[in-house]
């Protein structure tokens, strides 16, 4: 593209602040069995959890970094310099008044309490290693919905969570799932009883405040037969000069006929390594849907998956990635068909700007003797500048005669004809560019329930985004990413 000066800038400023640390609990830098014992002691883990952590640590040490296929940038992470546990205490508060001032101000600046009053059925706010606030609307709690932190979940409801804990994503799944299993802290544990349909989304907000820190939250959502739940997570961190690590494990279990929708808007600062393992299990007739938006971080490696274990189970991944200068969004999807008549759908769109790099990695697996399984994969990449880069690496295995799989991908840039046409209609080149980019992602963006998403909402409302007016708003659908993409 000839317009080298056209760059798309998104606002990350709002999340870029931090308060002095006032941690009561600090496991120190580096990782050893002592670190594990420290965390287990502070959290008063039951013995089986402590053993689980110790075993996971061994697995983490044994596994090599996956640099034979993944980015060599992983080598920039110095596991000895990271602090694995920092908290002001382990008990989350039930009202914002009780939350310490600094932390409360953090979340107020991010708009969480306001959103909670308006839209959400429950909120959990995690600050470094532990949830500082966790609350669920009374009416939802009365339906029997459990929405607690991982520590509380394992301690108070072992009969519900233990059978599924670490089952969808085994410790040894990859090096970072092992690391998470060893030092996990925070995250949400959710149980939705049979037939209960949670009307409004539950939201978790993850905030990193400390430098040289690793956040390892662990989330497990179990939707019992016929229930429905939507969960959203947002994340921010201030920008430090040293690498910060965020390595979560998220397991979803949708029992017969249940529906889980999991929405992520990831806006980490550009020094964060975001290495996340996410997988859902869908029983008969159940549906797991991942909606994933990656805007921030230095390197994200995240491939949400669905194992379709029961007949007619459905899996879906909708993914938007925006890779700016210095960023590598390495995202994708895994679809494991393990029963007849299962269907999956992957739609991935990425935009690479400046020297940004967006990668799609996909895995579709249809094993033997299954009938009428279907997968559809579409991935489209848009390149904005001459230095932008995009890659697509799908792997598709199909066995047997009863199944249909199709994959399509395309890479393009905004066509000069398109821009020319819009300029003819009186738009500046920058406006035309902005409009085209929005058109590219618009159909996917519409899938995000934006009015609920604190992170996207925050971006749209922020004063800095006033400059969005670059594109005449009446041209644009209200829910378009224009809000997020600003033409400089």
């Amino acid at each position: 593209m000839k317009t080298e000066t056209t760059a798309i800038n998104i606002d990350r400023g709002k999340g870029d602040f931090f308060y002095p640390e006032a941690h009561v609990r600090d496991a120190g830098a580096g990782l050893s069995e002592r670190t594990i014992h420290y965390i287990a002691d502070v959290k008063e883990d039951p013995d089986w959890v402590r053993d689980f952590r110790l075993r996971a640590l061994k697995t983490f040490w044994e596994k090599p970094l996956p640099t034979h296929w993944a980015s060599k940038e992983l080598e920039a992470i110095d596991f000895d310099k990271i602090r694995y546990y920092l908290s002001g205490g382990t008990e989350p508060k039930r009202s914002w008044e009780e939350v310490p001032d600094d932390i409360k101000r953090t979340f107020e600046r991010l708009g969480i309490p306001e959103q909670e009053r308006k839209f959400l059925a429950g909120v959990e706010a995690q600050f470094d290693s532990e949830a500082v606030y966790s609350n669920i609307k009374k009416a939802v709690g009365e339906q029997g919905v459990i929405f607690v932190g991982s520590r509380e979940g394992l301690k108070n409801y072992p009969e519900i969570f233990r059978p599924w804990f670490g089952k969808v994503i085994p410790v040894g799944d990859n090096k970072f799932s092992a690391l998470n299993s060893a030092v996990f802290s925070g995250g949400s544990f959710i149980y939705v009883p049979p037939g209960v349909k949670v009307k409004h989304p539950l939201q978790a907000y993850f905030r990193i405040n400390a430098e040289n820190f690793g956040q390892f939250e662990r989330t497990l959502i179990i939707a019992d037969e016929g229930s429905e739940v939507t969960y959203m997570e947002g994340c921010t961190a201030p920008k430090f000069n040293t690498p910060t690590l965020h390595s979560a494990v998220v397991e979803l279990v949708a029992l017969k006929g249940a529906k889980i929708q999991y929405i992520t808007v990831q806006n980490w600062a550009s020094n964060v390594f975001n290495l996340v393992t996410k997988r859902g299990l869908a029983q008969e007739n159940a549906e797991v849907k991942w909606i994933d938006c990656n805007i921030g971080s230095r390197l994200t490696m995240k491939y949400p998956g669905v194992i379709m274990k029961g007949r007619k189970a459905r899996g879906e991944v909708l993914s938007i990635a925006l890779a700016n200068d210095g960023q590598h969004q390495d995202t994708g999807a895994k679809m494991i068909h393990a029963a007849d008549e299962t269907t999956s759908n992957i739609v991935s769109k990425s935009i690479s700007i400046g020297k940004g790099r967006a990668t799609y990695r996909g895995l579709v697996h249809v094993p033997k003797h299954l009938k009428n399984c279907k997968n559809n994969t579409e991935c489209d990449a848009l390149l904005i500048n001459a230095t932008s880069r995009t890659d697509t690496y799908p792997a598709i295995t199909v066995r047997g005669t009863g199944n249909a799989v199709q994959h399509e991908a395309s890479v393009s840039q905004v066509s000069t004809e398109q821009i020319f046409y819009m300029q003819q209609r009186g738009l500046s080149e920058a406006q035309a560019m902005s409009l085209s980019v929005n058109g590219f992602v618009n159909d996917l963006v519409r899938q995000f329930p934006m009015e609920y998403s604190v992170e996207l909402k925050r971006l749209t409302r922020d004063g800095r985004l006033g400059r969005v007016t670059a594109a005449p708003t009446d041209f644009l659908q209200r829910r378009s990413l224009t809000a997020v993409l600003v033409v400089r």
Binding site: Y393, V398, R399, S410
Partner: protein, 426 residues
């Protein structure tokens, strides 16, 4: 020539003990071969964890049983010649069996006078050392088989060298046969084709076994160089016996305004790997890559391709089709790579798998690596089976259920029709 008894065949050296030292080749070449042998011995065996070998059944790559072939008997030579039937008309022809040149139909005096060089490798490396040394295995095998490319280089003893001079068009195709005779023999087929500016040429290579079941090993290299504005068409008809382990490493270099078209037909082999690297190094270059594999029984076809767009304004189009029956497996690992500044690239890649049995397995990995923005690149992969409606339609037209795969898998084969399998043991 004295006839070779089975005893002597069994006595011949294993390929793992290296080349016999008495080869009558120039010293500089033997030096290169010794270096290559060291490389072969140092490079690790591929494992499934290596990305270029993902999904491959690397366990099948046991080379211990295979031997360097001793000279063929007079009977064998006559038999092979009798069965080397291909095109009715050709410009020239070479027939190799167990890596020995057994027949040579040279190009016409006219073509020779105008500068066409069509020679066995061992002569070309002496008589045309300059061109030969410039191009011989000049492109590294980057698609996973560096070890086997080294083995090929170390053990290659003959092959085809074809040079078509500037502006010359050879109208009729050039035909080459490679045969494997007797059990556990090995072959290292080699083709080096250099088409100079604006030259035009078509080459067809046949790979066949004398027996439909004899085990064997083939490790071939073919390098096609299309100079500016040249037009090269290459057809590979691979029909080794169903117990042959075969690796073929192709590299095609396309200069400005040149075009290369390759059609690869894969029918034989127990494990057949085909690596194809297409480099577009000049503006206006175009490369078309077509392949058809018909996989049966326990056959495994393993195709790895790279469409490497080095220069701006180049085009490539890849279409690979696989029909899979019984317990057959296919792997397609393809990549379109657009290098920085290779703007106005137009690249396409498509793999289509037709599954005809419940035990067949198709693996597809169509990849893209795009480092320039002004490009149009798309790829697609589909896997499916024959629609019930289509079958019903065929039955209403009197085609029985049993014979169904043939017409439809032929349709899948699109532009080319599978050649009949060889007719029994002889």
């Amino acid at each position: 020539m004295p006839s070779v008894t089975d005893h002597e065949v069994a006595k011949s050296g294993s390929i793992l003990s290296g080349a016999a030292e008495l080869r009558d080749l120039p010293e500089w070449f033997l030096d290169q071969q010794r270096t290559a042998w060291n490389q072969f011995e140092t490079l690790p065996n591929p494992t499934r964890k290596d990305q270029p070998w993902r999904f491959s059944n690397v366990g099948l790559l046991d080379l211990a049983p295979f031997r360097i072939s001793p000279p063929l008997s007079e009977d064998d030579r006559n038999n092979v010649l009798k069965h080397s039937r291909g095109l009715d008309k050709y410009a020239a022809r070479l027939i190799f069996a167990n890596d020995q040149l057994i027949e040579r139909d040279v190009v016409s005096e006219d073509l020779k006078r105008r500068g066409v060089i069509f020679q066995p490798l061992e002569r070309a490396m002496i008589e045309h050392a300059d061109v030969f040394r410039k191009y011989f295995m000049s492109t590294e095998a980057t698609l996973g088989s560096a070890k086997f490319a080294a083995l090929h280089k170390a053990l290659v003893s003959t092959g085809t060298f074809l040079f078509v001079p500037r502006g010359l068009e050879i109208e009729l195709p050039i035909e080459i046969f490679h045969w494997l005779r007797h059990d556990n023999m090995s072959a290292f087929p080699h083709l080096l084709l250099v088409a100079d500016e604006l030259a035009k040429v078509t080459v067809i290579e046949h790979f066949r076994s004398c027996s439909p079941t004899a085990p064997g090993f083939a490790c071939g290299v073919n390098d096609l160089i299309a100079g500016p504005g040249a037009k090269v068409t290459y057809v590979c008809a691979q029909n080794w016996s169903e117990n042959v382990i075969a690796l073929q490493m192709n590299s095609t270099t396309v200069d400005h305004d040149a075009s290369a078209m390759s059609l690869n037909l894969h029918l034989g082999g127990k494990y057949s790997r085909f690596e194809s690297l297409s480099r577009l190094i000049g503006e206006g270059g175009r490369s078309d890559l077509l392949a058809v594999a018909v996989a049966k029984h326990q056959q495994e076809f393993d195709a790895r391709t790279l469409q490497d767009h080095v220069s701006p304004r180049t085009a490539s189009d890849l279409l690979y089709k696989n029909a899979l029956d019984d317990r057959a497996r296919t792997i397609f690992g393809g990549l379109i790579r657009v290098e920085p500044h290779a703007h106005f690239t137009d690249a396409y890649q498509k793999v289509r798998n037709l599954l005809l049995s419940d035990d067949a397995e198709a693996n597809s990995m169509p990849g893209l690596e795009i480092l320039a923005d002004n490009v149009r690149c798309t790829h697609g992969a589909t896997s499916g089976q024959i629609d019930e409606d289509e079958l019903f339609y065929l039955r209403t037209r009197g085609i029985s259920h049993k014979s169904r795969p043939t017409p439809l898998s032929h349709r899948l084969s699109g532009r080319s029709h599978p050649a009949p399998r060889s007719s029994g043991n002889w």
